[in-house]
């Protein structure tokens, strides 16, 4: 259980903050991001939202070390990002599972790349598979699983390497709404056990408000921080009626009004 002080959750030991300072990125003549400043607190759940073309996925990839920034700096904990690092794990929108491997092998993938021994790999993978609710499916192949289950494998793979930071690129976009809601609650309860720092890119305002502590709105072409919203809804939110509250509706509507002006 996580301690609470006056409504502000205390992150678990080991969670790190992310500092994005003056990050700019251009692709050819298109300026995707211009001078973006974001501070992600340790153990915080932060969403990035904005209209198409605002560069939110690019920003996430820059934090992940997959794309180099043209200008500016990203610091994860005390490490300046120059490439992919051991504290970050990424969850992809289209799952990016290895089709030729079983669920078990897929979850072990990150551990395998890091040279973890087979015995320890198997054990850690199995634990994570159980945590995401896929116990029993270790020997299945991705083609045999539904979209929601495949993404659980993707999440398990990301969690198996015990990251301090979880970066999620529209993880629920390819999943139907009912499965999505269950998954979102599961994600929140998993996250509440070990408050990692989470940055989630999403298209859905409702999802951003439901999941996050703060929502960063980016404006398009070039991508800039337009506004940062606090989401003071109490936790735990999973399994409750948060979506039915007036406060929730007000927050979503507020976010919509901001986004509408950006369209």
């Amino acid at each position: 259980m996580v301690a609470r002080e006056a409504g502000v959750p205390v992150p678990a030991a080991g969670a790190v903050s992310i500092a994005i300072d003056g990050v700019s990125k251009a692709f050819g003549s298109v300026q995707a991001l211009a001078d973006v400043d974001v501070r992600v607190r340790a153990g915080e759940f932060l969403s990035l939202i904005g209209p198409s073309g605002c560069g939110k996925t690019t920003l996430l990839k820059i934090v992940a070390g997959l794309v180099p920034a043209d200008r500016g700096r990203v610091t994860v904990g005390d490490r300046t990002v120059t490439g992919p690092g051991p504290e970050c794990s990424v969850v992809f929108q289209d799952f990016a599972l290895l089709p030729w491997s079983t669920v078990q092998k897929n979850v072990e993938f990150g551990l395998l790349l890091r040279g973890v021994s087979p015995g320890e790999r198997a054990e850690r993978a199995q634990r994570t598979i159980a945590k995401v609710g896929l116990a029993g499916f270790e020997r299945a192949y991705p083609a045999q699983l539904s979209g929601g289950m495949q993404q659980r494998v993707g999440l398990a793979r990301a969690l198996a390497v015990s990251p301090r930071v979880l970066l999620m690129d529209e993880p629920f976009a390819s999943i139907d709404e009912q499965t999505r809601r269950v998954f979102q609650d599961d994600l929140l309860s998993l996250w509440s056990e070990e408050r990692k720092t989470v940055v989630l890119v999403t298209h859905s305002m409702e999802e951003a408000i439901y999941l996050s502590d703060r929502v960063v709105v980016l404006s398009p072409r070039p991508g800039r921080v337009h506004q940062v919203l606090e989401v003071p809804l109490p936790r735990p939110r999973e399994g409750g009626d948060v979506r039915a509250t007036a406060e929730f509706a007000r927050l979503v509507d507020g976010l919509w009004k901001i986004l509408r002006k950006l369209q």
Binding site: A64, G65, L66, G83, P84, G85, P86, C88, S89, V90, F92, D94, A96, L98, P99, W100, S101, F109, G110, L112, L113, R114, Y141, P142, A143, Q144, V161
Partner: protein, 244 residues
């Protein structure tokens, strides 16, 4: 219902054959029955077995070389782009060229032996192995490479854990297709070289007007290639169990 139609088509074919033999379409055109008895006789006398073993030798040598050399070449082409761009021009030409045209040249330079058949088999099959391996590497899903990079995979790790498994289905398909071309090359080589193998048996039977023996050998050859390809397809299916 389907089985009935298929059986009907086979029966229909046999009847057509029988009719062709009776008409007769041409001098000494053997009937299905004559062909079958000739086949049995050839098997019994050992002539067919000897010829098959000789042919298999050339096939194994040529096709084996095609796989052993073709797959690495294709992989290299895919990984090192400039090599790929240049080499594929040569391979495209080799694939467009009727490879049979090279047979007289091979006979002149290498002679008439198992090696020359093997060289021809190689020429018929190697380009396809290489091209398919190349295509397999090029078709790797960029997302999977990105995912592995997100986990900080090194280049060797990327190659072994992402590129190779991704390319495997196309490599196997290329090998299977190349085997069918290898058989074509084998037969063309042996029909033209003549001194040994199944091709010789076919040609000698023809010139001695033993058409039933010739038909029987041709049938045997087709069965042989069909079986080999089916076996390879089974292996391929087992290796690619993970596909939906």
């Amino acid at each position: 219902m389907v089985l009935a139609l298929r059986t009907a088509s086979v029966v229909g074919f046999l009847l057509l054959w029988e009719w062709a033999a009776r008409v007769p379409i041409s001098f000494n055109f053997p009937s299905p029955w004559a062909t079958l008895s000739a086949l049995v006789a050839l098997l019994g006398s050992g002539a067919l077995v000897t010829a098959t073993l000789t042919s298999i030798q050339s096939l194994a040598l040529g096709f084996g070389a095609a796989v052993v050399l073709g797959v690495p070449l294709g992989l290299l082409m895919g990984v090192v782009r400039p090599v790929g761009r240049v080499a594929r021009v040569y391979l495209d030409l080799l694939i467009a060229l009727p490879t049979a045209a090279l047979v007289p040249l091979v006979i002149l330079s290498v002679g008439i032996n198992v090696v020359s058949s093997a060289v021809i088999v190689f020429a018929f099959s190697a380009p396809f192995v290489a091209m398919n391996a190349y295509g397999g590497v090029r078709d790797v899903r960029p997302r999977l490479v990105e995912m592995a990079r997100a986990f900080d995979a090194s280049w060797p790790q990327l190659f072994v854990r992402i590129v190779l498994p991704s390319a495997t289905p196309m490599i196997l398909a290329g090998i299977r297709y190349a085997l069918s071309r290898a058989f074509v090359g084998l037969i063309v080589a042996e029909l033209l070289l003549s001194p040994f193998g199944l091709g010789r048996l076919i040609m000698s039977s023809r010139s001695m007007f033993e058409h039933d023996r010739m038909f029987a050998t041709v049938l045997w050859t087709l069965l042989l290639s069909g079986t080999a390809l089916a076996a390879l397809a089974r292996v391929e299916a087992r290796l690619l169990r993970w596909r939906a």
